[in-house]
């Protein structure tokens, strides 16, 4: 994919078929290689260049998915439900190119930082809620075009299934499965197979990709509701 990203200085209208409007590859300072970037206020000490901020694939699984060339079927200006937002590292990048992001996180401490991120981004809505209980936020969250999930907890397929109700019929599920959260000792490949089998009850899996070298024993899954 390096042919697409050399020295591009465009306005971020998407310079690769799979990059949404608002996400681009650009050069930062004296680095020779173009890096993934979105436009917005910096959040976690990432490098900036004008209004662009580097999207570090080592810090972000969605960033790593783009870096690995996955087509996430995520255009710019979409509505997104993000489960497991933590302190908002990835959610902030997604908010940079989306219409709005509903960000669910159930641990109090990271939500404190997430609120700080939302103060700079009026389209990011922090929700201190448990992703296993979708009824506790369905009175706030509207139907969305994309469900992004990175909860790193046991029962990741179950969480994705329970939250399918938020996804439009032509929407997309972008899921990160962390093998060690399901089973520390099991072989990641087996763990992924069993999570995928569970997921297929409710979703049609379109694509999968391991996230090494950015994230060990993590599988990215792109799927659509059945």
């Amino acid at each position: 994919m390096s042919d697409d990203r050399s020295g591009s200085t465009d306005d971020g209208s998407g310079n690769s078929p799979s990059l949404p409007t608002g996400v681009t590859y650009r050069e930062f300072g004296d680095e020779s290689e173009a890096r993934l970037a979105t436009r917005g206020r910096p959040v976690y000490g990432e490098r900036t260049e004008g209004e662009w901020r580097l999207w570090d694939p080592r810090r972000s699984k969605v960033g790593a998915m783009y870096e690995k060339g996955l087509d996430l079927r995520l255009g710019g200006g979409k509505k997104v439900l993000y489960l497991g937002a933590a302190s908002g590292t990835t959610a902030s990048h997604v908010a940079d190119f989306s219409r709005c992001v509903y960000a669910v996180e159930f641990a109090a401490r990271p939500v404190r930082d997430l609120v700080g991120v939302a103060e700079d981004r009026s389209n990011l809505f922090p929700l201190l809620e448990d992703a296993r209980k979708p009824a506790s936020y369905a009175h706030v969250v509207e139907p969305v075009d994309a469900l992004i999930q990175d909860v790193a907890t046991r029962g990741q397929a179950g969480v994705a299934r329970a939250n399918q109700r938020f996804l439009a019929d032509d929407g997309v599920l972008i899921l990160t499965v962390k093998a060690r959260s399901e089973d520390v000792t099991g072989d990641p490949a087996d763990v992924f197979e069993s999570v995928l089998a569970d997921l297929r009850e409710a979703y049609e899996v379109l694509d999968t990709e391991r996230l090494e070298p950015f994230h060990d024993a993590h599988l990215a899954v792109v799927a659509r509701p059945r």
Binding site: A107, L128, H139
Partner: protein, 283 residues
């Protein structure tokens, strides 16, 4: 997904006055719906917002306020509160036991022989007093029973609080031991900063000083001895089990202090580690 408006589901904004942030927080925290609706459209139709952009402004303001307040409230149940509660619990228990001894001794001089301790006090508290002397004894026994009940409520409170202050530590150590470790260290932050070797002997300070004075062998464990993974491991491997447990507990305390999210894999890693220690050299 439905596209027609549903009659049952109520959006968070329904019945709310624009600008009432506390009302909005209440609605966000306590409301529920089975499935999502097109809330922006519904809010505009209901006159809550002028248009979608206006709705999103209101939603942003409301969710930020609710999340900020929700976090602040959870953090009020912080580690210092936990330490106060655990000390109060210890005091209540110790005092109840001391007073129970006093009651037993006094009651023994007036009534037939009974049980000692809290259970004895419970029996005496039920007695019908005859005269002012009896009454002082039965009343004091009733105070003992109350104090014991309060100690039990304090215990339940500390265990609940330990789970919210240090969810990973509480999951690994059990809430009672987690609370104990935080109290012994003087707070979650100080516990998180201690090396795991120090955590391992927390609560064994006397034994440790004796060792440093050259009067005893070095202690292998402090309060973590109460954990099944130490107590239930055969003596020859207990030191290794204590070291392994202390190592994981100190990682858990660091995650709880610095990150705050739950990492269920820690439990499984610990289980696997102890399993290996217990089975090695066997078979």
């Amino acid at each position: 997904m439905t596209d027609g408006p549903s009659t049952e589901e109520r959006g968070w904004f329904e019945g709310l006055t624009r600008g009432d942030l506390d009302g909005a927080r209440e609605a966000i925290e306590t409301g529920t719906a089975e499935s999502p609706e097109n809330w922006p459209t519904r809010a505009v139709a209901a006159g809550f917002a002028a248009d979608a952009a206006d709705y999103y402004d209101a939603l942003g303001e409301a969710t930020r306020h609710a999340a900020r307040e929700g976090v602040a409230e959870r953090e009020l149940s912080d580690d210092q509160q936990l330490i106060h509660a655990i000390r109060a619990m210890d005091d209540a228990e110790r005092t109840a036991n001391e007073l129970a001894e006093r009651v037993a001794e006094w009651a023994g001089s007036r009534f037939e022989e009974g049980e000692a301790g809290i259970e004895g006090a419970r029996v005496i508290a039920e007695r019908e007093p005859h005269g002012p002397g009896d009454e002082r004894v039965t009343d004091l026994a009733a105070r003992v029973v109350d104090l014991d009940a309060e100690a039990a409520r304090l215990r339940a409170f500390t265990e609940r609080t330990a789970g919210s202050v240090a969810p990973n530590l509480a999951a690994l150590a059990g809430p009672a031991l987690a609370a104990r470790l935080i109290a012994l260290a003087g707070g979650l932050k100080t516990l998180a900063r201690k090396p795991s070797g120090t955590l391992q002997v927390l609560g064994a300070e006397e034994a440790l000083f004796a060792h440093l004075r050259g009067q005893a062998t070095s202690p292998k464990h402090g309060v973590i001895y109460t954990h099944e993974y130490v107590r239930g491991t055969r003596p020859g491997e207990r030191g290794s089990a204590a070291r392994a447990l202390a190592g994981k507990l100190s990682i858990a305390a660091r995650i709880d202090h610095y990150a705050g999210d739950r990492r269920p894999e820690l439990e499984k890693e610990l289980d696997a580690r102890i399993e290996r220690i217990r089975t090695r050299g066997e078979s």
